[in-house]
Each structure stands twice: as C-alpha cells, then as structure tokens.
C-alpha cells in the first residue's frame, strides 16, 4: 500500500512544482521590473515624459475632437502607418465611416448593431461598450486605431445631450493617446532588464517592498520557465479544490491498478452474462423476427439483430445483406466476422440462389455465434 501513496505524493509534488510559477506571479502583482512608488525620481521623470500638461484630467479644460485629431497628428506617436491611415480625418468622419474602419470584427459588429438601433445610446450602454473595449485591450486584440474609432463612434451615437458622457469619452480618447505616448517614452528609455519570475533577490528589492517574494522561494534553486504560461486571473485558493480532485483521482487510479486480475475477471464474467442475457431477450422479443416462419431465414435475421446489438451499428432498411456485412466486418473480432460471413453467404444461397441445402448451415453458424458471444459478448 505504500507504493500508491508514494505515487500520489510524487504526483502532488509535481503539480505543486508546476504551480509555482503561477503563485510567484501572483505574489509579484506589479509588472516585474517596472518602477514603483519607492523610486520617486524615476516615477517623476516618467510622469514628466508621459504627461500631456494641457489636458491633465482636472475637469476644467475643454476638450473637443479637433484637438484630439491634432494630438493624433503628432508624428512621434508610435502609431503604425496603417493606424494613421485608419485615423485620417478623424474629427470629421461619420459614425458609419468610423465603424466601418474598425478592423476588429466583433467590435465592429457590436457597434453596427448599436448603430442599427437608430436611437441615442444610454449611459449604461456606453459603459458596457467601454467595459468591452477594456476587456479587448486586456486580451491584446484591440489596436489603438480601433479603440479611438470606437470611441469616436460612441460619441456620435450618444449625441450631444449628455455633456458629461461626451466629455468622458473624449477623455477616454485622451487616455489612449497618453498610453501611446507613455509607450513611446518607455521605448526611448532603452531596453529594460529581462526580468523573469525568478530573478536574483537583489534586483527585486529595487521594486515593490510590499510584494517582494518570500525569501525561502527566492533562495530555492528553481529552474526558470521562460515559455511557461502565467495565469494572472487565477488565484491559488481557486486551484485548491482542483488540486484535491487531482490527488484523489491519482490515488484511486493507482489503487484500481493494483487490484488483482481475478477480481476483474469475475466482474467481467458477470457483466458478460448480464449483457448476453439482455441481447437474447431483445432478439426474442423482436416482433419482426417473430413473424418469420422459415427457421433458416429467421436464423439469419436473428444473427443480424445480434450483430446490431453487439456492434451498436443499426442495419439500414436499404442495406443489402452484403453491404451490412461489409459495414460491420471491421468492428467484429475475427471469429465472429468469419461466422457472420458464413451466415450471410448461406442466406444469399438459400434465399436468392434457391439452394435449400444452405439453410441448415445458417442455423448452425448462428448457434455458434451465440455461443461465442456468451463467452465474450464484446464485438
């Protein structure tokens, strides 16, 4: 009994080792290597580089689409030529034009549906779309041009009635431009050090102090998994039940494998008897078979029924005797296939060639088939 326990423990240990990168990624919640509050100077310099002073979100400044377009014309913005092409004449395009320029098909379809409503969108609907945009951004399937075009379409679809909503959408656009500028400035800082989940402790101490990795993990000589997927939304407490299920399944599997063969054989024999008993009952109760007076023809059709039950393949009414044999031949074990072929050929001779002598052989082969099925009912 020790062996299964050791196997289970080994399996558990392996799973835990595999989960380590996930748990480590959870501890370190901020983007690894990205400067945090502690490094005030670095943060300030970054803020200075990415800030758009004239449009700090103070709520005082008035913002309009022409000014957004002006900002988009900045040649230093890291926009691809295609994005720039998509955003051409940004402030003047119609809602339809804005929607049709969107490359993300799901987003375009959603906006087309909203456009098809032929009414002004409510604040809730706009918020839902904004949430959807955020989820697409997180998934990495949203390009800046698509996001800006979607926001432009939303502005047009909300009309000018709700001033605050209108301004919020403009600021959302501004945020997109800000993030683009931030990206540009980060790129100008030069390449960042390659920080994988398992880095020397010294470097990590420069980042967040609140979320530094526990010392014991940091000291472990763990291998790095550069290609190992990290699931940022999966927390460890969600994984615990799964872990339990895996452990129980592993233990059960190992125990079952250790069961002695005779006990399985007894179980199998019992199952065979039940199975064949059921098949016989089904063949016996078949109304179509009961109506056949010729014993040899009845033997053939009974064998067809038996084969149907054993293979699970139902004979189509338009399938000939040969077609049915060919259909199930590959599903039958060798001895049954040979016997059923004899029955089929016997039926053909008896019925279509008028060879009466072939009749008894059909019955004989059918009986043999039943006997073989009783010893081993699987096809």
């Amino acid at each position: 009994m020790k062996k299964p326990l050791y196997t289970s423990l080994l399996a558990l240990l392996t799973i835990l080792l595999l989960l380590l990168p996930i748990t480590c990624a959870q501890i370190d919640r901020h983007t690894v290597g990205f400067p945090e509050q502690k490094d005030e100077n670095l943060l300030k310099s970054l803020k200075d580089k990415t800030a758009l002073p004239e449009y700090e979100v103070s709520g005082e400044a008035s913002l309009n689409l022409s000014e957004i377009e002006q900002l988009l014309r900045d040649p230093t913005l890291p926009l691809s030529p295609f994005d720039r092409y998509q955003l051409r004449d940004f402030s003047n395009i119609s809602v339809y034009e804005a929607i049709s320029r969107i490359q993300n098909e799901d987003l375009r379809e959603l906006l087309e549906k909203l456009y098809g409503l032929n009414r002004t969108l409510t604040t809730d609907e706009v918020l839902l779309v904004l949430n959807y945009l955020r989820s697409l951004r997180v998934q990495g399937t949203l390009t800046p041009s698509d996001e800006l075009l979607a926001l432009k379409a939303l502005i047009d679809l909300t009309g000018s009635g709700d001033e605050s909503l209108h301004t919020s959408l403009l600021y959302a656009m501004l945020e997109v431009i800000k993030s683009l500028k931030a990206r540009r400035d980060l790129e100008s800082l030069g390449p960042l050090p390659n920080l994988l989940p398992f880095q020397p402790e010294g470097y990590l101490s420069q980042g967040s102090s609140a979320h530094t990795r526990p010392r014991i993990i940091g000291k472990l000589p763990l291998p790095t998994f550069p290609g190992f997927p990290v699931f940022p939304h999966v927390s460890l407490d969600q994984l615990v039940p799964y872990l339990g299920v895996v452990m129980i399944a592993t233990t059960l599997f190992t125990l079952l494998r250790r069961l002695k063969p005779p006990s399985l054989e007894v179980f199998g024999r019992l199952l065979n008897r039940v199975k064949v008993g059921l098949m016989k009952r089904q063949i016996g109760s078949d109304q179509a078979l009961a109506g056949i007076s010729d014993p040899y023809l009845k033997a053939y059709w009974s064998s067809v029924k038996l084969m149907e039950l054993m293979t699970g393949v139902r004979r189509s009414s338009s399938a000939t005797h040969r077609e049915f044999f060919i259909q199930i031949k590959s599903l039958l074990r060798e001895d049954l296939a040979r016997l059923f072929k004899e029955v089929t050929m016997g039926y053909e001779l008896y019925r279509y060639a008028g060879v009466r002598e072939a009749g008894p052989s059909i019955e004989g082969y059918y009986r043999e088939m039943v006997r073989r099925a009783e010893s081993k009912p699987s096809a």
Binding site: D294, S318, T320, R322, E323, R351
Partner: protein, 312 residues
C-alpha cells in the same frame, strides 16, 4: 465468371491498355451480354472509340464507326440499293449498321430523322430497305456517344428514344496518375489496340448471352426493382419517372452483372450496381430543380438509399 469479361479484364485492364476504364468496360460487357445498347456520355478525348474498338477486336466481333453530322441521311447508316451496270440490276450496298458493334459518334449531331431510323433499327434489330427486311447479325450493340457540353448545332435525343438505351455510361477523365501513365504509354497503347487479336469467337459471345438470359431472379428481387421504379415516379423532384421498359432493363442488366460477378442468381447488390446507369437517362428532373444543380443521378442514388431491400 463470364469469359467475355475475364478476357476484357485480362487483355485491356490488367495489361494497362485502357487505363482506369474498368467500370466502363464492365458496363459495356453488361450491355453486350444483355443485348442492350449503350449511350456513352463524355467529352472528346476520353478513349470512347478506343474502348469500343478494343472490345470488338478482342471478342472477334465486327466493328464500325459512324460520325454523325446534321446532313447524314438514314440511308447512309442503313444502306441503299445502287444500280449495277454490269448485271443490269439493283444491288444492296449495306450501311455500317450491318455490324456487331457500331460506334455512333456524337449521336445528337444527326438530324431527328436519321436518329429515329437508327433507333428503330436498334429496337427491332432489323432494317427495312426498299420494302425488304434485313435481320441484323447478333450480337448487335450500338455504342452511341454524346458530348455533355455541346449545346449548339445538336438535336437532343427525345425521351422516348433515350429509353431505348439500356445503359448510360459516363466516360470520365482519368486521374492525374492515370493521365501520366497514358502519356508515357500513348504510342504503346495505340500499337497494342491496333495489334489486338481476337480471344473469343462470336459464337462464344452468343453462348454467354444465352446463359445470362437464364440467370435466376428471385421474386423478392422483382419486387425490389418494382419499388425502385415506382419510387422514381413518386419522387417530388422528378418530372418523368422510369417506364416499365426501365424495370425490364434493370433486371436484364442485373442478370449480366451477376454473371460477370460469377453468380448464376441475382442479388439486390446487382440491382444497386446497375440501377444508376439504367435509370439516370430515363429519370427527368423538374427544370426548376435542375437549374439548382439537382441531377438525375443524385435522385437515383437517393432512391437507392431509401427503398428497402427484400425482407423476409
């Protein structure tokens, strides 16, 4: 097994003289053994002539070919009397119809008048010239070809005349590998067909025709064929279903197929094997469905998967 088909198979298929033509050759032999005529549909250049010529040569039968044109007259096929100045009397000049295997190329190019004269001869197996009746020598089989894509300058065969063909065979393009073999062996194939020697005699062919006639057909097979033919008339996509002549044709062809397969009795599998070729030119699809791509072959195949085979 049929000696006719085994000779054809050995000399033409196994020796790769005709490549990927087994089914077509088998159906031609079915036509020959069941005394039926064959309509072969296929684009030019798919060895329709070679196939017919090779069979005729192998079986020791006479072979003639007529290229149909709109100006061809019935007498050009059947024959006519000409005045012989030496004897001072009219002598019969027999047309190409006096042969065992007649290949009628592009039958739909001939005028309806010539077509009907030919088809009448096919049905009656005799021709009348200047009031005198001449029996055609047995076996007599017409293999008529038509091009499925030509629409201009043709006279499509009327339904009643189509019904006189026992089978319609589609002469298909070979596969890519088959085509490569054909290209490599083109000269060899031509030479082989030219030098083919008869392997059987006309009498042996006639003997097999007699045997085929006596092949056993169980009553339930007749019922099965009747159900298939009836179903062609009930099918909602069909404008004109199969005639009783079609039912007879299925039985005849199934007998020949069974014999080729080495049996002296017909089973439903034989019916299924020949039914598409027998019915496809006899079942007419409703025009509105035809333009949507529904073909007679689709309908026949659907019917064959619906009609129950004989049960106890």
């Amino acid at each position: 097994m049929s000696r006719v088909f085994s000779v054809v198979k050995r000399e033409l298929i196994d020796k790769e003289i005709l490549i990927e033509k087994e089914l077509e050759l088998k159906l031609i032999v079915v036509g020959l053994l069941s005394r039926g005529h064959i309509l072969m549909e296929g684009v030019p250049g798919v060895a329709k002539t070679y196939t017919s010529k090779a069979i005729a040569k192998l079986l020791g039968l006479t072979f003639k070919r007529v290229q149909m044109t709109p100006d061809l007259l019935p007498s050009d096929i059947i024959g006519f009397y000409v005045y012989d100045q030496k004897t001072g009397s009219f002598v019969l000049r027999k047309g190409p119809i006096f042969t065992n295997i007649l290949l009628v190329d592009e039958i739909n190019r001939a005028s309806p008048r010539t077509q009907s004269a030919l088809l009448e001869a096919m049905q009656e197996r005799q021709v009348t010239i200047e009031g005198e009746v001449y029996e055609l020598e047995e076996p007599f089989i017409v293999i008529a070809t038509e091009n499925p894509i030509e629409m201009e300058g043709v006279f499509p065969l009327p339904e009643a005349q189509l019904d006189r063909f026992l089978l319609k065979i589609e002469a298909r393009y070979p596969s890519k590998n088959g085509l490569i073999t054909i290209m490599k062996r083109a000269d060899e194939i031509e030479e082989s067909i030219r030098t083919l020697k008869p392997m059987l005699t006309r009498d042996e062919v006639l003997e097999e025709i007699k045997i085929v006639r006596d092949i056993r057909v169980e009553d339930s097979v007749y019922e099965y064929v009747a159900s298939i033919v009836e179903e062609t008339r009930k099918h909602p996509a069909v404008r004109l279903g199969a005639s009783p002549r079609a039912a007879i044709a299925i039985i005849k062809a199934a007998k020949a197929w069974a014999y080729i397969e080495g049996r002296t009795y017909v089973i439903p599998d034989d019916v299924k094997a020949v039914a598409p070729s027998v019915l496809v030119h006899r079942v007419l699809v409703k025009p509105e469905l035809e333009i949507r791509g529904v073909s007679a072959k689709d309908i026949v195949l659907e019917i064959l998967t619906k009609v129950p085979v004989p049960k106890p």
